[in-house]
């Protein structure tokens, strides 16, 4: 079996057999352990045990309460600026090939980026306290 695996050419279906075995074993182990603990463990359900564990302090109120809208604003701005950075990946790969012209283009991209950042700073989107 093993010799078949080692001698077979790359990229055939048989190469994936160890992964399948690993997967079956992992899932089987998890399922086995969970069912065993469920069957063997003692069951004592009280209201204290069902409450959320908050480091020993009694929990207060609902977790889904409204947050400050500022938080939302910062999160959205983070997403925008975060995603724009992916354009650096293709540039990093072709850094040498693109040369001076590519560098200037990226510089312009960053400049537009900064314009947006200066704008949101001046608008006060990042001022936490008012």
């Amino acid at each position: 079996m093993l010799s078949v695996l080692l001698n077979s050419p790359a990229n055939t279906t048989i190469n994936y057999l160890p992964i399948v075995i690993q997967l079956v074993v992992a899932i089987g182990f998890v399922a086995f352990m969970m069912s065993v603990t469920h069957l063997l463990g003692p069951k004592r359900r009280t209201s204290d045990k069902l409450a959320n564990f908050e480091s020993g302090i009694e929990s207060v109120g609902n977790a889904r309460q409204p947050m400050a809208i500022k938080y939302f604003l910062v999160a959205i701005l983070f997403v925008l600026f975060d995603v724009e950075v992916i354009f650096f990946y293709p540039y990093a790969v072709n850094f040498k090939a693109l040369g001076k012209e590519g560098f200037l283009a990226v510089l312009m991209f960053v400049a537009f980026f900064l314009v947006g950042f200066i704008y949101i700073r001046k608008r006060g989107a990042l001022d936490w306290e008012e």
Binding site: F112, V115, Y119, K122
Partner: protein, 459 residues
């Protein structure tokens, strides 16, 4: 190309203008100067000796040709007229005055990309740059629930159609292996790839959403009605025409060879658009809503340029750009001063303001397509284009019938102004400059109606 850069810079400058200029009047002066500069750059670029050649930029992703230059001049001209007439009203919409103008400048960047793309990537970016600021403009009147509703509806519909657009682009890429519209190699293929055909159909659906062709028009009346009127005037005219130019550019350069497989679908879409737009417009009580449906009806005529796939269609598109945009913008400029947006609100306007009523009559006649106005010539070119192509005689006859229906609801406004007694209450009076700009608009319509070759002669 310089035009795209200029428009971006104008957008950035206006973004920061709100921090530097405290007074609305100085802001409005700056806006006028900047948009006049944009118009000037468009004319300058079209007058270059190289303007009649096809130039390519950025690895051939952008191609500027003669049609692009002509269209850019006309659309920036319409924009300048729009800014002159509406700047006061735009500044009155809400708190962030300079930002509204900045968004309009950014939309212009997208429009210039739509008139010059050669890569589907640039087309996609152009459409998105045009769409996303529009969602904001639609919801700019934050106190008004109708505006917010329009914004949400427009956003959901726009994002939905973006999904179709992208799927169409992807399927085309899957069929051909590149994004360059001028090089689609399935054009030479003898048999049609089903993946490519699916892509073309999805693109028709996506563009149908953007230009509000039936049955993808359902968002249009609510959105145009809820949006603050100055921005409705922008969305229904300049942006819509630009979307048509993008649509036409893509289909005329890439899909001519396989037109037999999609043109019947488009013909059905056109017939539906003409029918729904005109018939529903008849039953409207509000003039603003009537204009929304009439923009759907006019979209049906503009779609002729896409189905006919010839040079006459391209010329017709240019005439339509001016005739439709100028008439609608000027009429919106009158409508925005009225207290009551229903037909009854116009009762007796001719007695109170004879000059304004006469101008409004010219705009309505042009939209209805009465001879000697630009609207007639626009419709004439479109019908000529589709008859030249030969296979859609029934569509042309149906369009004529529907144009006759449209006369009814446009004339209702004229009848209300001239033959009914009433107050015609206005919020605000017209200044001297505004009257001048409105007159220039009416003259432009008449000139285009009598000498359309001024616009089309050089193509």
């Amino acid at each position: 190309m310089i035009l795209i850069i200029t428009a971006s810079i104008i957008g950035v400058v206006l973004l920061f203008a709100s921090f530097l200029l405290k007074h609305t009047s100085s802001l409005l002066h700056l806006v006028t100067v900047l948009f006049a500069a944009l118009f000037g750059v468009a004319i300058w670029e079209a007058l270059q000796p190289t303007a009649i050649l096809t130039q390519s930029f950025y690895l051939d992703a952008i191609r500027v040709d003669r049609f692009t230059n002509q269209f850019n001049v006309l659309i920036t001209g319409c924009l300048f007229l729009y800014i002159l007439l509406m700047k006061k009203h735009i500044a009155a919409v809400g708190k962030y005055k300079a930002e509204y103008f900045a968004l309009i400048a950014f939309i212009m960047v997208g429009i210039f990309m739509l008139s010059s793309f050669n890569s589907l990537l640039v087309m996609f970016l152009g459409i998105e740059i045009v769409s996303i600021p529009q969602y904001i403009l639609a919801g700019s009147d934050k106190e008004n629930l109708k505006s917010t509703e329009a914004s949400l509806k427009y956003f959901l519909m726009g994002a939905f159609s973006t999904g179709f657009l992208l799927m169409g682009i992807t399927l085309l890429y899957g069929a051909t292996g590149n994004f360059m519209v001028s090089e689609f190699n399935f054009l030479q293929a003898t048999s049609i790839n089903p993946i490519a055909l699916g892509g073309v159909l999805l693109l028709i659906v996506a563009f149908g959403f953007k230009v509000s062709a039936a049955p993808m028009h359902l968002w249009t009346p609510d959105v145009y009605d809820g949006t603050p009127t100055p921005f409705t005037a922008f969305m229904a005219t300049i942006v819509k025409v630009a979307a048509f130019v993008g649509f036409m550019r893509l289909f005329q350069t890439s899909f001519t060879a396989i037109s037999s497989s999609w043109s019947l679908v488009l013909a059905v879409v056109i017939a539906l658009t003409l029918f729904v737009g005109n018939i529903t417009a008849v039953f409207q009580q509000s003039v603003k809503r009537m204009l929304a449906y009439s923009s759907i009806a006019q979209a049906g005529f503009m779609l002729f340029a896409i189905i006919s796939l010839n040079a006459i269609g391209r010329q017709g598109m240019l005439v339509y750009t001016v005739a439709y945009s100028v008439a609608s913008i000027c009429f919106f400029a009158i409508l925005i001063k009225m207290k009551d947006y229903t037909y009854d609100g116009f009762n007796g306007l001719a007695k109170k303001q004879p000059f304004i009523a006469a101008l409004a009559t010219i705009y309505m006649l042009s939209l209805a397509g009465i001879p000697l106005t630009g609207g007639f010539m626009a419709k004439y070119y479109m019908l000529k284009a589709v008859l030249f192509e030969g296979s859609y005689m029934w569509l042309a006859i149906f369009a004529l019938l529907m144009a006759a229906v449209s006369v009814y609801y446009y004339f209702k406004v004229i009848i209300a102004m001239y033959f009914k007694e009433g107050e015609a209450a206005m919020i605000d009076s017209f200044t001297k400059e505004e009257k001048l700009y409105l007159t220039i608009g009416a003259l432009a319509l008449l000139v285009v109606g009598i000498f359309p070759s001024l616009l089309t002669g050089t193509i």
